[in-house]
């Protein structure tokens, strides 16, 4: 059960690889779109600037949309979640994948520091989520980001730093988390495990 971890040059993927491997997943770094062939699950990670997602051009978008249509689950992490939306004010020239309506925005507020770095709480929405199975509302997760996604219909968890934002989204086979599950202790590993479960189960 091959999981493709998309490597588009957005920083350090060692921790994500390590976490999936600790859970027994057959995860592979994929830096060319042809590497998606045969994958049963796709993970788009990302730290740093939204503009890095510009490397995920037409070919990647097409292949990822086709995979979704074929029933392959997709998980976006951090900038990977933001990329599921239409775009971000961080890089107005780089469109997102557009699977979820809305644009990401810069976190701002008088009494908070940006970037938002550290452990914050996940306030779970009152609806069924496969990604958060077995996870209690109020659980802590590790964040490090300056931009965030708006709260939308697909939001399954919100977190507040100056303003509430989407700390996780889910719709059918599309999943995204703003926090770093690979750095969020037991809660984070459970999220990754749940994603692997979806991969195994399929739609």
């Amino acid at each position: 059960m091959r999981i493709a971890l998309v490597d588009y040059g957005a920083g350090n993927l060692a921790s994500v690889l390590k976490a999936f491997r600790a859970l027994g997943a057959d995860v592979h770094l994929v830096s060319d779109v042809s590497g998606l062939a045969g994958a049963r699950g796709i993970v788009v990670p990302g730290v740093g600037h939204f503009s890095a997602t510009a490397s995920l051009g037409h070919d990647w978008r097409g292949a990822i949309r086709e995979a979704l249509d074929a029933g392959i689950p997709l998980l976006g992490i951090c900038v990977g979640l933001q990329w599921l939306f239409e775009g971000s004010t961080e890089a107005p020239g780089s469109p997102g994948l557009g699977l979820i309506r809305g644009r990401c925005f810069r976190l701002e507020g008088d009494d908070v520091k940006v970037p938002h770095v550290g452990w914050n709480q996940l306030d779970l929405a009152d609806r069924r989520s496969r990604l958060f199975a077995g996870i209690a509302s109020g659980s802590s997760a590790y964040f490090t980001h300056s931009y965030a996604a708006p709260v939308v219909d697909e939001t399954i968890a919100t977190t507040t730093h100056a303003v509430p934002f989407s700390s996780a989204v889910e719709r059918d086979l599309v999943f995204g988390v703003q926090f770093h599950p690979e750095k969020s202790g037991r809660t984070g590993l459970r999220v990754l495990e749940n994603f692997l479960h979806v991969v195994r189960e399929g739609r």
Binding site: G11, V114, V117, G118, H161
Partner: protein, 253 residues
């Protein structure tokens, strides 16, 4: 609400943990991977491995230590000490670190901050500042507190943030190893001057010291070593104490 972070620092030399008092007088306090696992179980929010040797043999041992420490650790891991170049940083990140902490190299070559931030993102770049009170100024020192720099701590922190640092690790040389409390004035001066998180370090001795640095000191995180290593106050006791006194803490782990 964003929790205040407790960070355990493992001062490592040739693969084992030591703790300097005022940067001198080292004593052995255990295996880094074992200590890391114990802290993780106790609910520490983050770990920092500080290489206090930075000799060639020591650096090879460090890479192995990072691999061992990070193997089963799923909380953030920062590594500092002797990082001089992009190559040094790459080796450490590839071994499993999430963040690198640079001090003397940032003073000597501030453009390294920006280069690291461009390659790995600001979240991976900590600029460590060792400061000593001189009259009403805070002077910056490099090379493990031995060499006086010309810069002033608050100004240098601002510059580091402008250049792309994601966090500041601020150590009071006056307090380090004394267990007499963090320098809350220094910490508040830097923390209110920069938009990025500030980690206070140097002087932790009692739970009250942490409460002070998170309130009066305006710290976003606090780092300590010996207070954690010798179990005078277990991490979980400290977290519960702080939570009871109104400091937002992560209590589920």
């Amino acid at each position: 609400m964003l929790a205040k972070r407790l960070i355990a620092c493992l001062d490592v030399r040739d693969g084992s943990v030591v703790k300097g008092v005022n940067f001198k007088g080292l004593r052995n306090a255990g295996d880094p991977a074992e200590l890391a696992a114990r802290y993780n179980e106790e609910g520490i929010d983050e770990l920092t491995v500080l290489d206090v040797t930075a000799t060639l043999e020591g650096r090879r041992a460090l890479i192995d230590t990072i691999r061992r420490v990070s193997e089963k650790l799923f909380i953030p891991l920062a590594v500092g000490g002797g990082i001089r170049s992009m190559d040094d940083a790459r080796a450490i990140i590839e071994a499993g670190a999430d963040k690198v902490s640079i001090n003397s190299a940032a003073l000597a070559q501030p453009s390294l901050i920006t280069a690291l931030a461009r390659t790995y993102g600001s979240q991976a770049v900590i600029v460590a500042i060792d400061a000593k009170r001189e009259g009403d100024r805070y002077e910056v020192f490099g090379r493990s507190g031995t060499t006086r720099d010309r810069r002033e701590a608050v100004e240098w922190a601002r510059e580091a943030a402008d250049r792309g640092a994601g966090e500041i690790l601020l150590t009071s040389i006056d307090r380090d190893g004394t267990r007499s409390g963090f320098d809350c004035e220094l910490t508040a001066a830097v923390s209110t001057a920069v938009p990025i998180p500030v980690i206070a370090s140097g002087g932790a001795g009692t739970p009250e010291h942490f409460l002070d640095v998170f309130s009066a000191g305006r710290a976003d995180a606090a780092l300590a070593a010996s207070i954690f290593h010798f179990s005078e106050h277990a991490v979980r006791d400290l977290k519960h104490y702080l939570a009871e006194h109104g400091v937002p803490m992560r209590l589920d782990w």
